[in-house]
């Protein structure tokens, strides 16, 4: 979404018109859902966290500085929401395997080695192993890995979302990647 359009929508929301919140929710929902699934482990809890985060964001929009980008601010609220839910007795990280690529696609490219059924199955298997590896590491490791690897945020943006100095992002990423590597080794997966 264009920053200028985003600012205009936020201005309208701040003025009390909730209709202008819908494009913002729709724009940030896919990324937010991925982050929440990675944090919570399953779609149901992720959806609850996402919903609460959007409501909290709307309720605190009056405090939002329009000169700053909306994305990192929202992801910070979402991340805190996920952590609060994990800390409470309400939700624990509960693993649900992500949707597979082979769902309904097996017959699409039978002759293509890169997109054929065998390759898709291998990728599904690799995903399942990594997903189980993620279950074994802590939420603080999971969140930084998702922000970097899946969403491609720069170190400065990650620092803003996680409320840490930019200088410690590399160190946090090293520990997270190391923890994931160790978890995979424990599961008898060799890298590379």
């Amino acid at each position: 979404m264009q920053p200028e359009l985003e600012r205009e929508l936020i201005r309208k929301c701040k003025a009390g018109d909730a209709r202008f919140y819908e494009p913002l929710v729709r724009a940030y929902e896919p990324t937010g859902l991925r982050l929440a699934i990675a944090m919570m482990g399953n779609t149901e809890d992720a959806q609850d966290a996402l919903q609460e985060a959007f409501i909290k964001t709307y309720d605190t929009l009056h405090r939002f500085d329009l000169r700053r980008p909306f994305g990192p601010w929202f992801f910070q609220i979402l991340r805190n929401q996920c952590r609060d839910m994990l800390r409470s007795r309400k939700s624990k990280f509960r693993l649900e395997l992500p949707g597979t690529e082979t769902d309904g696609k097996i017959e699409e490219y039978p002759a293509d080695p890169e997109r054929g059924p065998e390759r898709l199955r291998q990728r599904d298997d690799a995903r399942a192993v990594l997903w189980r590896g993620l279950e074994r590491i802590g939420p603080e490791h999971r969140e930084i890995l998702v922000l970097k690897e899946l969403e491609g945020f720069r170190y400065g943006e990650i620092a803003q979302i996680l409320e840490i100095p930019e200088g410690t992002v590399a160190s946090r990423l090293y520990h997270a990647r190391h923890a994931l590597r160790e978890a995979l080794v424990e599961m008898n997966v060799e890298y590379p």
Partner: protein, 142 residues
């Protein structure tokens, strides 16, 4: 290792493209001189590539949260209108009742019944609230 010293943080910033050209050259030099570092970076590259392929598709059918969010963010306006309207009607009712030519004893008796009902209603709500606070299973999902 004979090349310049490379810390794990440098390695991560190298992997993620967060180094300046000069820092990158320094790490390249260290990598060329150390098979141990080469192996290390190859492991993290493979892990990074696999992770990036891991798309977090919801495993169950997903519907947007917008409708639920919309219902919640517009709810306070509804409550505000209901409370304001109810207060206005109650004030008007009390005014009409108080200024009516009814016998004062009738007014007192009716007032006592109304206040009694309000007290009982408030005490039941308070009791339920206290029970809810003590309920050890209130956060358990069905």
């Amino acid at each position: 290792m004979n090349g310049p010293r490379v810390t794990p943080d440098d390695l991560m910033r190298y992997l993620d493209g967060e180094l300046t050209p000069e820092e990158r050259t320094r790490v390249d030099t260290a990598l060329a001189a150390s098979t141990e570092l080469q192996r290390e970076i190859a492991i993290y590259r493979a892990l990074k590539a696999d992770f990036q392929e891991l798309s977090f598709h919801p495993a169950v059918r997903y519907t947007s949260v917008w409708d639920r969010v919309n219902a919640r963010v517009t709810r306070p306006i509804g409550w505000l209108l209901v409370i304001a309207g109810a207060l206005a009607w109650m004030s008007y009712g009390v005014y009409v009742f108080a200024t009516s030519p009814t016998d004062p004893w009738e007014k007192l008796a009716t007032g006592a019944v109304a206040i009694g009902i309000l007290i009982l209603f408030a005490s039941v709500i308070w009791e339920r609230y206290q029970e809810w606070l003590r309920d050890p299973y209130r956060d358990v999902h069905r």
